[in-house]
Amino acid sequence: MSPIFAAGNGFWLPHDPWEILWGSLAFFIIAFVLVKKAGPMIKTAFVGRSERIEATLNEATSERSAAEAERDGIKADLADSDAEATRIVAEARETAARVKADMIARAEADAVAVRERAVAEIAAARRAAQADLTAEVSRLASGAAEQVVHANLDDSTQQSLIESYIAQVGANN
């Protein structure tokens, strides 16, 4: 039997009019009950579903906005990080250059100081050697002079020196 013949008798409608009446009546009753009772529930369910979908959509939109904001923040942070990194690198280069300059200046100053100290020490050593030499020459000369003087200090010279001294003391009054 073809599914289109729902009456089971080979026709589209049953032959019994009461069956049609009762069937129709039952149909309308059921339809009425469905419209009256289940309709609002279905409508409510559809409305609720729509609201949930809308809420979900709103939430998704909000989350998307938040995600985009976060993305923008991250991008900004990344940009800031790049700038910070660039700044740090620049600063590090500047510091390194300054340290290098300081080290070079200090090394040059140390070298100058070492050179000056060496020059001063050489000069001091030279002066000391000259002083030692002068003292030795002086000692030898004075020793020789003393010997010569001593050899020539006879009694008459001694008396002459004493008389000269007495005269000088008397003259200075």
Partner: protein, 175 residues
């Protein structure tokens, strides 16, 4: 030795010399002995040696001064030696001479020379110093070979140096 003790010894010696009436003679003899003692480390060491009996040290003093100094001078030196004050004998004598001369209103000039000054030279030098200082000066001559030549006079805090030694030192320092 403290200044107080040196002063006490000097005062005692002044009183003793005055009592004996031989102040000038004792001054001169003590001064000469003190200078001789300064010039002889051996004599100074012997007289200061506590290991040598005091009687022996006094005997040495008497042997040295006998016939060359008066009894008062010999007794004074013996006293100082017996008391173990040989190390301070020069200071005591210098103080004694200064006080004794000061008592007469005089100043004492210690005159060092390589050869001894004659009495005439000492007199003329004393006159020159008296004129220079404005007060009577007694000259005490010390023969000091290290002077080489000329004279060095110490009178109070004043030094009048006319020695050849100093001239040579100045010559050496001028180099």
């Amino acid at each position: 030795m403290s200044d107080t003790r040196i002063t006490a010894y000097a005062d005692a010696l002044v009183a003793l010399a005055r009592a004996e009436g031989a102040t000038s003679e004792v001054e001169d003899e003590l001064f000469r002995f003190a200078r001789a003692l300064e010039g002889s480390d051996e004599l100074r060491g012997t007289l200061a040696d506590a290991g040598v009996p005091a009687a022996r040290r006094i005997q040495i003093v008497e042997d040295l001064l006998g016939g060359r100094a008066g009894a008062t001078t010999t007794s004074i030196v013996s006293l100082i030696v017996a008391n173990g004050r040989v190390g301070e004998l020069s200071q005591i004598v210098d103080e004694f001479v200064a006080r004794s001369a000061g008592g007469r209103g005089e100043a004492v000039a210690e005159v060092r020379s390589a050869v001894a000054l004659s009495d005439e030279q000492q007199r003329r030098l004393a006159e020159a110093l008296t004129s220079r200082t404005g007060r009577p000066v007694t000259v005490r001559n010390v023969v000091d070979p290290t002077v080489l030549g000329g004279v060095v006079t110490q009178i109070g805090d004043t030094l009048l140096d006319g020695s050849v030694r100093t001239r040579l030192n100045q010559l050496r320092d001028a180099f």
